[in-house]
Symmetry: none
Subunit: 369 residues, 2 copies
């Protein structure tokens, strides 16, 4: 299923150092850095521009298969009895229209199944009733309604100024780009990781400024969306021979963003080295898997960012949490898809895959650890 127009995710997590400040944290992180050294040794935190010369060199390097399981184990927060609702994450999906109601639902429910505490969907009035009916777990906001209010204990999760912008955006089609721009600028100022997927990528493609130099932005293009991006940004065709160099160049040209090129192997880059996840998933290509991925990446990238923020590390060894989030999300989807296919074979649909997200995560990093 294609994502609905401007489908993208934002995810916010309370910063509570002690959540991850447990004693083994530093050892865990060293392990993490080792497992990611090839990708991130040159420091994911420095601005891409300052690193470009170095990166151009690095970009010529080989593609490393990420130690994805290690990444998932390191960034997934231990379950803590003292936590209260929201501290494992609150996600907001902006998207959902008359034609597409499945995409935002898949992304939102996947976020919950991966472990986020709350999942909001902001969509059109038409889409809202349908998306709500898919599951009582989601908080669905028909943002074209005027009488709107977020409860205090959730206000933090989605700022009212984002809402104001979203409302403007939905109301006047001719100002979509401006408003998405405002929303993304706000998300960035608020340090909220943003995943842009589906037709949101179409907007980005025609307005690169919207994500330029936003190190918290992740683009997750499929083969078609990637083709458009390459043509628009690099003025050339996709070149499979130099796939990793081209992906690196694309990230650098846009500046700062992380791109996960979805395919048989997911290629992930933030303009430095290129990492891939090629664990076999499922031969089924049912629509909607990309939506599970964007929802999962939103949660994992936020967890990764939080993990790194709460475990001080020397700049030169810093890693890019957005890259970690992509690696973790990619692996989890592939494992869940494999389990779902094993059970449902040709009849596997996206919902079957979502049912296995929990077991897949448990297999990789048991909740009881």
């Amino acid at each position: 299923m294609g994502a609905c127009p401007h489908a993208w995710q934002q995810h916010h997590l309370h910063h509570r150092g002690r959540m991850w400040a447990a004693s083994p944290a530093f050892r865990r992180q060293l392990f993490l850095l080792r497992s990611l050294a090839p990708t991130c040794a040159d420091g994911g935190r420095a601005s891409s521009s300052s690193l470009r010369p170095h990166l151009m060199y690095a970009a010529a390097g080989p593609v490393y298969e990420a130690d994805a399981e290690a990444v998932v184990r390191r960034i997934t927060p231990p379950l803590d009895r003292a936590r209260h609702k929201g501290q494992a994450g609150k996600i907001a999906i902006i998207g959902g229209c008359r034609e597409y109601t499945g995409a935002p639902y898949f992304a939102a429910i996947s976020a919950l199944r991966v472990g986020a505490d709350l999942s909001h969907v902001f969509c059109t009035k038409d889409a809202a009733t349908v998306i709500k009916s898919y599951s009582p777990e989601l908080i669905v906001h028909p943002i074209l309604e005027e009488s709107y209010s977020v409860r205090d204990d959730e206000r933090e999760s989605v700022s009212s100024s984002i809402l104001a912008e979203v409302i403007k955006w939905m109301e006047r089609f001719d100002c979509i780009v401006d408003c998405v721009g405002n929303i993304m600028r706000h998300a960035r100022q608020a340090n909220i990781p943003t995943v842009v997927d589906g037709d949101g990528l179409f907007l980005i493609t025609n307005n690169i400024g919207l994500v330029e130099d936003n190190s918290l932005a992740i683009l997750t293009p499929n083969v078609y969306e990637y083709k458009r991006l390459v043509q628009k940004v690099l003025n050339c065709e996709v070149n499979e021979e130099n796939a990793s160099e081209q992906l690196t160049a694309l990230c650098q040209k846009i500046g700062g963003v992380t791109i996960m090129r979805k395919g048989k192997a997911d290629l992930i880059s933030d303009g430095k080295k290129v990492t891939q996840v090629s664990t076999f998933g499922s031969p089924r290509r049912c629509g909607g898997q990309g939506d599970i991925l964007s929802g999962s990446v939103a949660v994992f990238s936020s967890w990764a960012r939080h993990f790194l923020l709460s475990n001080e590390q020397p700049k030169e060894t810093s890693v890019n949490p957005m890259v970690l989030g992509c690696i973790a999300g990619s692996l989890l989807l592939r494992k869940a898809a494999a389990l779902a296919f094993e059970k449902n074979k040709r009849s596997t649909v996206t919902t079957d895959i979502i049912e296995f997200l929990g077991q897949s995560l448990e297999d990789i990093c048991p909740a009881g650890r």
Copy 2:
């Protein structure tokens, strides 16, 4: 998931003494009183004002862990083939709005899963279709509809004057508080236990008079809602060192009500002693668990009230059924959450917990006893 604005529950049970007047009833009750002596020895029936001096002294006492399993076993009505529909309880959930349809659904379906016979939801027209779609078990009233009628065999469950007030309340946003006030006054006159949760607590916080001296009212604030209550009513901040004294003082200041402060351990007080339930549930903090709790507490508090009313007891040893209801609801949610987590781990959502309410209750007090 957060409760929707003004989400609150009312529960009414037919008073049929013989339901609990079976021979072992008195022995059961003595056991109950023993198990609750620390909490209730000073008599839950007397008006809080007359007892304040004594209570201030009692409030300095320690917090006792409730013998929650004994409470559940005592107050849960034995299944009786002679009973007819409704005698195990009819619950009405007032709530459900554009954004929040999950909260009232979770509360209503939980009430049925705990053992109530009928569960009604009164909500906006927008929310009604969605809530109906979640489950055919619920009777959902879109109260903005004019052509409204309650079926005869259910007319008793919700008086038409409540409906009139609810309709007024929904029709004119600027009179919400007045109407909620009318509804609560009516519930009180009709001796209907009332659980106030979610944003219903927000109204209460700003209009304490709505529950003042209502010994059948239960407030179930989470960490945010409790903070607001303490600030508004006691004009100070939450003090963890003297948590039980502060909770007791809060109950006394409001007068008569029972408050369950939800947290790692649920603290329960009616202004006399403080009881807690700290049985470990689940480390997952998915939204919606509070809604299961309010639905369960509504059923248990009514059962407890009925159990006590139908087993005459000396005044000086009387216990507060609202406190018993909170204890029972808290334990049941925690047991169900633990079972759901055992099965679903990080991927546990509220729906998974509801699926285990039945087994949890059966584990504590088998239907066959």
